[in-house]
Symmetry: C2
């Protein structure tokens, strides 16, 4: 057999997937598993958007334009204009999910060997796309006791080398639920200008911002239009993760022009996802209000319940639908597997994401897990009960 590439061995396998066989085995034993491990919401996709799919009368499913269907791009531009992001449809490249947008951004903005600074903990797949682009991740640790606020600019300064070319942030953040304030973003802007860096912002959770906060986009910051790249996706906004529909937005025309070449190589983004995405743009306010209220209720309940457990601490998330919780455990990978493999409480258990996978600094986050509040309140209640019982039993028998 011919040898496979080194990169195919180096490519990280999904950490959560490693737990999947244990979850499946648990289910086979008749144990109910609460999936708080993933960002797959149980929220319904807007019905009128699904109707647009059901009413398709196209006879030939043709390639669309490599940058996306024009009417969809024009609709997206309007969506952005409504939230005070001043872009033209020609600044938008429609992609197969936020994933492809991120991949294109890495390939176009950076050369192999370049470094980008990313506050950790961060979304695991950033590792995959930086690796594909040959870009080195320089992590900068944000702390649970600060509610995962943006690290101080002086900490950023310490990370600068002659290969530093960009900053990648997720705001609001998966996995932390943290959100950056306008003042923090302005400091980041000044830092980017000073060191001639790109700022890439993954803002796919923009609509999930709580307690009367106002989301500030990197696209709102003045004076860095030529160095700002927005990663977006319809996945979470309209609960249509499976349609793989995202976009890449920048006012840097040279960037967009070169990014389109990557779009042309894969011909076009998925057709049906664009139809669903375009219809979703006219989702009524009530949908978001309902979803918003649902998440706030889940969040408030979950955070209160978690913090009642002895030795557990989790900050109040400002956005998205995740929280990172510090648990009284030695090793989150071991604990999460044990919860599935060996434990159940009244025939129920919880699947969580070990937080170690969200840190690039080796050994960090070993006592943390990410919990997604994507299930309804009564399920969350049962999950927390199982977690509490699990922590006791784990301490007694495993530590």
């Amino acid at each position: 057999m011919p040898k496979l590439s080194q990169r195919s061995y180096d490519m990280p396998a999904s950490a959560i997937r490693k737990l999947v066989p244990y979850a499946e085995a648990a289910k086979k034993r008749g144990v109910k598993v609460y999936h708080l491990n993933i960002g797959q919401p149980d929220i319904k996709t807007p019905e009128h958007a699904l109707d647009a799919i059901r009413n398709i009368d196209t006879k030939v499913i043709e390639y669309s334009h490599s940058a996306g269907i024009e009417s969809y791009r024009r609709g997206l531009a309007k969506y952005y204009q409504n939230i005070n992001i001043d872009v033209d449809y020609s600044d938008i490249l429609v992609t197969a999910g936020g994933s492809e947008a991120l991949y294109f951004a890495m390939m176009v903005a950076f050369n192999p060997g370049d470094e980008i600074i990313i506050p950790e903990p961060f979304y695991t797949n950033y590792n995959s796309f930086t690796m594909l682009a040959g870009v080195n991740v320089v992590p900068i640790t944000s702390k649970i006791e600060d509610g995962f606020a943006l690290p101080k600019i002086k900490d950023f300064e310490e990370k600068i080398t002659d290969r530093t070319r960009g900053i990648l942030i997720c705001n609001p953040s998966n996995p932390t639920g943290g959100m950056y304030e306008e003042e923090e973003l302005k400091q980041l802007r000044d830092f980017a200008i000073k060191h001639d860096l790109f700022i890439i912002a993954d803002e796919v959770y923009r609509e999930f911002v709580y307690d009367g906060r106002k989301h500030v986009s990197v696209m709102h910051l003045e004076g860095i239009e030529d160095r700002t790249i927005l990663i977006d996706s319809t996945s979470k906004r309209y609960s249509e993760c499976g349609s793989r529909m995202g976009c890449l937005v920048s006012k840097n025309k040279e960037f967009t022009k070169n990014a389109l070449k990557f779009g042309q190589a894969r011909l076009s983004p998925p057709y049906f996802g664009q139809i669903l995405g375009e219809a979703s743009l006219s989702t009524p306010k009530e949908y978001f209000e309902e979803v918003y209220n649902e998440y706030v209720e889940r969040r408030n309940f979950l955070i209160a319940e978690l913090n009642k457990i002895e030795g557990v601490y989790t900050p109040m998330p400002k956005g998205a639908f995740y929280t990172i919780a510090k648990l009284p455990i030695d090793d989150c990978d071991k604990f999460c597997q044990w919860m599935l493999e060996e434990f159940n409480y009244e025939n129920q258990t919880v699947m969580m994401a070990p937080a170690s996978g969200f840190y690039a600094t080796k050994g960090s986050g070993k006592d943390q897990v990410r919990i997604a509040y994507v299930l309804k309140k009564e399920d969350l209640a049962n999950a927390v009960k199982a977690l509490e019982a699990g922590l006791k039993e784990y301490k007694r028998t495993q530590m």
Copy 2:
């Protein structure tokens, strides 16, 4: 403005796209443009497959499995078994079009700096995906006077270096319409074994094989199961290019395992494309017969008409729906642009793909164009008339 990556400048822009503004300008002048430049068929997508999309009653469009929906993969395995390709569903990774399958194959099989041999002329986007993977293309020229048959194995032998790791073929071929016979493929197999190479075969035109020929897949060849990688797509088979639905197939378990990690990085293939693809698997024979007859009639008509024009030669395509024609011209890029920019015959003209873009050897194919017979006969007739008149006028005024 921060500098963009070198690769984003090196990345080839679509050669055909360069002609698009000229085609659009021609249309604005009221000239009818026949698009024989692209592989976008006018054939209808199977109606029952579109019905599967129209009947979707899913409430939440969730991520699917990173390797694809299991029932779809099982359906695909059956499709392959029916054409004597013995694969299990676990040998199949569902991808966003053949494009993504090709990209994954390059990334998993090869290291940067590795060389792969590709018979030219070849599909332009192979350049993009090899470039993304840092793989060097070593072209080996097939000739129009041989009907673009597989070059002799001794020609392949001459291309071998210590970095040669694979062979990529397209069979039946876009852009040539050529098809490799069993005997040629067996020679290629022996060559691959001798030099320990992967054979990657793009067989997306498998169903378009004419004159009673039988398509032989690389997956039919015995003794190279661990070095064979199949690139496939539903785009042409069911005329559903826009749905972006392909797959990567190999019996090399290590290959599939590593490829899945790339699949996990982008989370999942597009949901709706999978629904359409799965429903398409039960497309009745009559659909293919009708499509087949349509293409045969178009092909026979086009080839006969082209060869009647003075100084034009094109071989009879054995498969797919393209042909490469040699024209009495000095420069196909210049000629194709001129046909759109300056010429019309009774207010009609033709858009063709300059063949220069299909050759990796500089200066090759300058007197050739690729013509896709994706339009109905009466349009082809008008297109050929315009081409004939254009060639006369071009010779008189431009050469």
